[in-house]
């Protein structure tokens, strides 16, 4: 039997029909049961559980057990398969359900959007009809306006024609009236006591061709004068404006050049700028005021425009940099505030210095100008030397002190000299006494050597004394 027959539903017996009590097989019908089971098993593809060889229906236990085991396996498999199938069925049923739900939801949405679409269509239609009506109204209004303008124009022409007609009639009437009045030779005229002279005292001139020419000439002269005046004024204004423009250009160039020299990044453009600037300068100096040809004018205005553009770029760049780099230590780019403060400080300083200088000048002026009397002059003169005088006085004092010291020392010296003199005198006296004694005491024989010795000693002493004497003499001399 093919295993596919295992999957027939007839294989799955309901669980509750498992008879555990054994009501299928009893003691009596064992053989029938065995036969039946044999049949069933063989139909299922299992080997028979017994062999029908000699009529002995012996159940082959091994085979039977194998068959039972196989049956159990089969059963398990089928149960597992059944479970899987159940799960699958559940899954698919839930999917189906979900699909149903989404389907219904989408259907609802579709309905709604269809309704919305219908509504919008309706609205659009209404607006279109509105627009059409408004356009029609506009067209009608325009046509009305044109019609009215046409009416106005036609009425205007009609009125002007009418007016012309009436004017002609009127002028005819006037002519007629004029003729009638003139014809009437009406009393009209001027009665005057005597004729008055002309305001400028001259006589009246005859009307001749020359006077006519003169009048024409005068008229043209007036006109020409007026034109001349106006042209002069315009020329002056033009020159002033040109001067202003030139000055502006020069200043702008100066500003740009000074800025350009500082900036390192723009060295190349600097070179180019300088080139163009030097060109411009040449041109501007060549353009003397008074050049009014178009070319020169254009050049001037173009160069001004160029410079202004450059200056504008530069200022914009500076602004950007200032906004980006707020607290920068770069000495070229200090913030505007700091710059302002510094300039204020400098200005104040300058002001103060100026005031100081002014006061100084004033005082000096006063000094030179005010005539003072001698006393005050002397006092004033003196007061300039006061310091020096004080110093001199100090020095005098110093000198006086020193002088005193010198005096004292001199006195000391003289006293010392006097004492020395006295001592010498006493020493001389002593020596003389000693010599005398020696001379008296010693013999003539010994006189020579001791004399020599003594004369030597004497000479030595005298030399010393002579040395001393001049000193004391000098001292005494100086003392005197």
């Amino acid at each position: 039997m093919s295993p596919s027959r295992l999957y027939t539903p007839s294989v799955m017996p309901p669980q509750n029909s498992f008879n555990v009590t054994g009501s299928f097989c009893t003691v009596e019908n064992i053989s029938e049961c065995i036969l039946y089971i044999n049949q069933e098993l063989s139909s299922l593809g299992f080997p028979p559980i017994f062999r029908n060889q000699d009529g002995i229906r012996d159940v082959d236990a091994v085979v039977a057990l194998n068959n039972i085991y196989d049956l159990l396996q089969l059963h398990r498999q089928t149960v597992g398969m059944m479970e899987d199938l159940e799960v699958d069925q559940l899954k698919s049923s839930s999917d189906l359900h979900y699909q149903h739900l989404t389907n219904s939801r989408l259907k609802d949405q579709l309905e709604l959007s269809k309704k919305e679409n219908m509504r919008l269509h309706e609205r659009e239609r209404q607006l279109e009809t509105n627009m059409k009506t408004l356009q029609n109204c506009l067209k009608d209004a325009k046509e009305e306006v044109q019609r009215l303008q046409g009416i106005i124009a036609s009425r205007a022409t009609q009125y002007s024609h009418d007016i012309k007609r009436r004017e002609r009639e009127y002028s005819k009437v006037k002519e007629r009236l004029n003729q009638l009045l003139i014809a009437r030779k009406d009393k009209h005229g001027m009665e005057v006591l005597n004729y008055v002279g002309r305001p400028d005292g001259r006589r009246c001139l005859w009307k001749t061709g020359k006077t006519e020419a003169r009048h024409e000439g005068e008229m043209y002269k007036t006109l020409l004068n007026e034109f001349d005046n106006r042209q002069r004024e315009l020329m002056m204004e033009n020159m002033e404006l040109k001067k202003v423009l030139q000055q502006m250009k020069r200043e702008m160039m100066a500003v740009l050049n000074s800025k350009n020299i500082c900036k390192k990044e723009e060295k190349q453009s600097n070179h180019v700028d300088q080139q163009t600037n030097s060109d411009d300068e040449e041109n501007s100096f060549k353009e003397l005021p008074g050049m009014s040809c178009d070319h020169a004018r254009e050049k001037l205005t173009n160069s001004i425009r160029q410079q202004w553009r450059k200056l504008k770029h530069h200022v914009e760049k500076l602004d950007n940099q200032a906004s980006i780099v707020q607290a920068d230590d770069n000495e070229e780019m200090i913030s505007k505030q700091v710059h302002d403060e510094e300039t204020e400080k400098l200005r104040l300083e300058i002001q103060q210095c100026k005031e100081f200088i002014q006061t100084q000048q004033q005082l000096l002026q006063q000094q030179l100008n005010t005539p003072c009397d001698e006393e005050t002059g002397a006092v004033l003169n003196d007061c300039y030397m006061l310091e020096e005088k004080e110093r001199l006085k100090e020095e005098w004092r110093g000198f006086a002190e020193q002088k005193k010291n010198f005096e004292m020392e001199r006195r000391n010296f003289t006293e010392a000299a006097i004492r020395l003199g006295h001592e010498r005198k006493s020493f001389e006296d002593d020596r003389a006494m000693w010599l005398k004694h020696q001379f008296l005491n010693t013999s003539f024989g010994d006189h020579m050597k001791p004399q020599c010795r003594m004369t030597d000693e004497l000479s030595r002493h005298s030399v010393h004394e002579e040395k001393n004497l001049p000193i004391s003499a000098k001292v005494s001399k100086s003392h005197l």
């Binding site: 007016i163 009045l181 009393k187 009209h188 005229g189 005057v192 004729y195 006077t211 006519e212």
Partner: protein, 447 residues
């Protein structure tokens, strides 16, 4: 500082061009007074009520025109017994004026049939045919050499330029206007401004020799030009129109350099708005009974002074009736100050306000709002000082320093209808219906 009140009629009172005398007409009498003492120097009697009186340019003669009788009488100041009478006869007389040399009188006959030029020096009489009857058809240059006259022949406008010396026709050319309303020479005498009637906004500028220099039109269809004035230096031509705007053309390109608007709400401006406030004498409403009213006029004398109002402020506007002709809307009067710096304008639908513009900055300087419509305003010929009157008993003065309102201290009420300055700028002559009064200014600027 006010003088006594004198009588006059027809608002005829003029100061001589040299400023020494003042001539006044009362009915048919002409009185010439010395300006300083106001004593009558000469008294003349005319044959009829004097309708128009004019001094000659050299202050030697006065003409008195009596339109009803068609008579013009000329009086001399040097020779009081000299007389001259010009009779136009039945042709009638509509207007009469002096020529600038003071020796010719131009009479316009009725229906503008012709202009007769009478000469006081010679016996010659000249006739000019076809003068146009319009707002301002004749104008003399300020140096008195040329006269421009508008003429109309065969439904076309022509302009004739005459040499006033001998009335020789210098130029005669067709004007490109539909219906010429007026012409005016520029103060330097070289350009003639010609404008069309209010049905068409067209301003034409002709040179002295008749060439068309330029034409200007601001808009079409609406009512156009209402008033025109030149600036004293001939630099600007100012056109006031019915659209409540003032347009200024410059004399080099004849193109509009700016326009001044007169809006109903003033805001966003550096102008000063002076509003006249009236303070009546303190009278409770209950007290205003009959016996109070009969007590002297002093009850009704109100004090008024100017107050400066903050911007934005509304200007009182009176909407005009647009169905009628010549609607009261638009700039009807404009005047330049003598130094060319200020322009005063009056917008007809804001009749109580006077606008003063600074010509150096081309912007609004001040707005004077009065309690009654402004009747008349004039600039001082020497200083930038403006005097105006509104028909009540006060005269108002404005100068760049400020403005002041002065009560005319006269017995009885003196309603100031018009005023004009003495040529030295030292005094104002105020005219009421039947009286005139002089107002002397202080030597230093009256604030």
């Amino acid at each position: 500082n006010f003088s006594e009140v004198l009588k006059q009629s027809n608002q005829l009172s003029k100061v001589s061009p040299d400023g020494k005398y003042m001539a006044t007409c009362v009915q048919y009498r002409l009185m010439v007074r010395d300006i300083n003492t106001l004593q009558i120097v000469h008294l003349y009697s005319c044959m009829d009520q004097v309708m128009h009186m004019e001094w000659s340019a050299d202050s030697l003669f006065i003409l008195c025109a009596m339109y009803k009788r068609g008579l013009v009488q000329v009086w001399s100041l040097e020779q009081p017994d000299w007389h001259c009478k010009i009779d136009e006869g039945s042709i009638g007389l509509v207007s009469s004026r002096w020529s600038p040399d003071g020796r010719h009188i131009l009479n316009t006959t009725e229906f503008h049939l012709r202009i007769t030029v009478w000469s006081l020096c010679t016996k010659s009489v000249s006739y000019i045919k076809y003068p146009k009857a319009c707002q301002k058809g004749m104008d003399f240059t300020s140096d008195g050499r040329y006269m421009a006259l508008a003429e109309r022949r065969e439904c076309k406008d022509y302009i004739s330029v005459f040499v006033c010396d001998d009335w020789h026709l210098l130029r005669h050319f067709e004007s490109e206007t539909q219906d010429l309303a007026g012409l005016e020479w520029s103060p330097n005498g070289c350009v003639l401004a010609v404008w069309d009637s209010c049905l068409e906004y067209k301003m034409l500028l002709y040179s002295l020799d008749g060439r068309l220099l330029s034409s200007y039109s601001a808009y079409e269809w609406s009512l156009g030009i209402k008033s025109v004035t030149w600036s004293p230096s001939s630099q600007f031509l100012v056109i006031g129109s019915y659209d409540e705007k003032v347009r200024i053309l410059n004399h080099i390109t004849w193109k509009k350099i700016t326009e001044f608007e007169h809006p109903g709400t003033i805001s966003n401006s550096k102008a000063v708005v002076f509003k006249e406030m009236e303070k009546s004498a303190v009278v409770g409403r209950d007290d205003l009974s009959i016996h109070q009213l009969t007590v002297g006029n002093s009850l009704f004398s109100t004090q008024s002074k100017y107050e400066i109002t903050q911007l934005p402020t509304q200007v009182p506007v009176i909407k005009p009736d647009l169905d009628r002709a010549n609607p009261k809307i638009g700039i009807s009067a404009m005047a330049f100050s003598a130094d060319n710096r200020y322009l005063a304008t009056k917008n007809d639908n804001m009749p109580q306000s006077l606008w003063v513009w600074d010509m150096q900055r081309l912007s609004l300087l001040a707005v004077l709002e009065q309690t009654a419509p402004v009747r008349c305003f004039n600039w001082d010929p020497c200083r930038p000082r403006l005097a105006l009157c509104t028909g009540n008993t006060r005269v108002y003065l404005w100068s760049p320093a400020g403005c002041v309102s002065v009560n005319v201290p006269v017995e009885g009420s003196f309603q100031v209808q018009s005023l004009f300055w003495h040529c030295s700028g030292n005094s104002l002559i105020l005219l009421s219906k039947e009286q005139l009064c002089l107002c002397y200014m202080d030597s230093d600027d009256k604030k």
